[in-house]
Subunit: 217 residues, 2 copies
DNA sequence: AAGCAATCTTTACATCGTCAAGTTGTAGTG
DNA sequence: CACTACAACTTGACGATGTAAAGATTGCTT
């Protein structure tokens, strides 16, 4: 509904080409990723066409194919960047010097907020067929690193007695992640007609997790 | 991508014009929906092109536009059919004469199994922009009817004392649905490298829900 | 300086969604 | 029954898209 940025659709920074028109762009690959991410954020995934992208960046239509096998590969790169951001965010949360339980809650809140703030990029990170393909190793590793942070969190919760010893950290992580993912997608798509305020839902989810996962202290 | 296969899309026997080649197809609308669902199931969503579809059904490429505003409208119709199936399934589960808690569990199991058995159609039911658009009233109503069944289930659980009186059936439904949705999508996309056996995950999810939602019997 | 590989361009093609205008069958009115 | 209006369908065309092939330009390595 609300455009995240008031910035017009104009694509900025064709930095190198701005002052000097070189045959070789210089760092086309990164420029493509950035421009793609920008377009996707502002106009949505469907609005991204390789031709327009090439135009806006200032290269020919075929140029991107020297850096990405096909459109999907480009999308995977953008998605990978998303997982990097998310991973960094979670890492920061976990490294805070606050009680474990608080870190747990903030890891939940952080995830949901990230997804709410970058809906189109989040869409890209999941939901495309980027996952089953075996040609995106790097992308997948980046994503699983993210997941592992939650597993570690649960392992700590078990170790410190917030959860029973016989609980399965991996399974719990899967379930938690699934819930966060589901909440994100269903909310984003407007399926929750009532109380689709993301903050409320986040708050409720956190309370629920605490109530259902954690032994009372 | 080349071999979309001449797999004969079975054209359902319409009461009229089953074998006869008429200028007017007779019930093109339904035929299109069924053929689309078939193609989507077998070859995936991306393989569905209106032109090929028209070919296989035996009409010209523009014919579908007399029954659907655009491709999205067709997809919405297919998705709606999916929600009908799911709703029927859940309805049947709920109408069974078995203990309430058992119905609850089977409603969970049924959802996950439905999604696992019809992955591409499930993809269609969510994940397309079918939801935010205001032109698919009927589709959305069908879907929300589905959701309401879960709310009713939770209301009963509260009433019969399996849940505290002050629990919020709607919120719980949202959370449950989100979890089921997340499990479905993440599993389907192969994100759970470990133990991605759908039966195991289903079983674990059910146990978890029982443990976390339900007062001890 | 020479050459080779990386990078970029031009051209071309097949496919797709969709519209406009025309054609054919059907239903309903008199 | 004839006629008309409408619904269902067809043909043809347009613009957009992803991407393959082959040629041009540059810069790095030796």
């Amino acid at each position: 509904m609300v455009n995240k940025a008031d910035t017009p659709v104009k694509i900025p920074t064709s930095k190198k080409a701005s002052n000097k028109e070189t045959y070789h762009h210089g760092n086309l690959r990164e420029t493509l990723i950035e421009a793609s991410a920008h377009i996707i954020k502002i106009q949505g995934i469907d609005a991204l066409s390789l031709r327009k992208l090439a135009d806006q960046v200032g290269v020919s239509r075929a140029a991107p194919y020297h850096h990405f096998k096909d459109k999907n590969a480009l999308l995977a790169a953008v998605a990978e960047q998303g997982f990097e951001s998310l991973g960094q965010l979670l890492q920061d949360v976990i490294n805070q010097k606050i009680p474990l339980l608080e870190r747990f809650k903030q890891a939940i809140k952080g995830y949901l907020e990230f997804a709410a703030e970058h809906p189109t990029q989040y869409d890209l990170m999941f939901g495309r067929k980027l996952w089953k393909s075996d040609q995106f190793d790097h992308f997948q590793r980046q994503a699983k690193d993210c997941f592992r942070l939650y597993v570690q969190l649960f392992e700590q919760l078990i170790k410190e007695g917030f959860l029973d010893k016989n609980e399965d950290a991996l399974r719990l992580s899967q379930l938690l992640w699934a819930t966060l993912h589901g909440l994100t997608k269903l909310t984003e798509e407007g399926l929750f007609s009532v109380a689709n305020n993301i903050e409320d839902i986040t708050q409720y989810a956190i309370e629920r997790f605490e109530h259902s996962f954690i032994n009372n202290p």
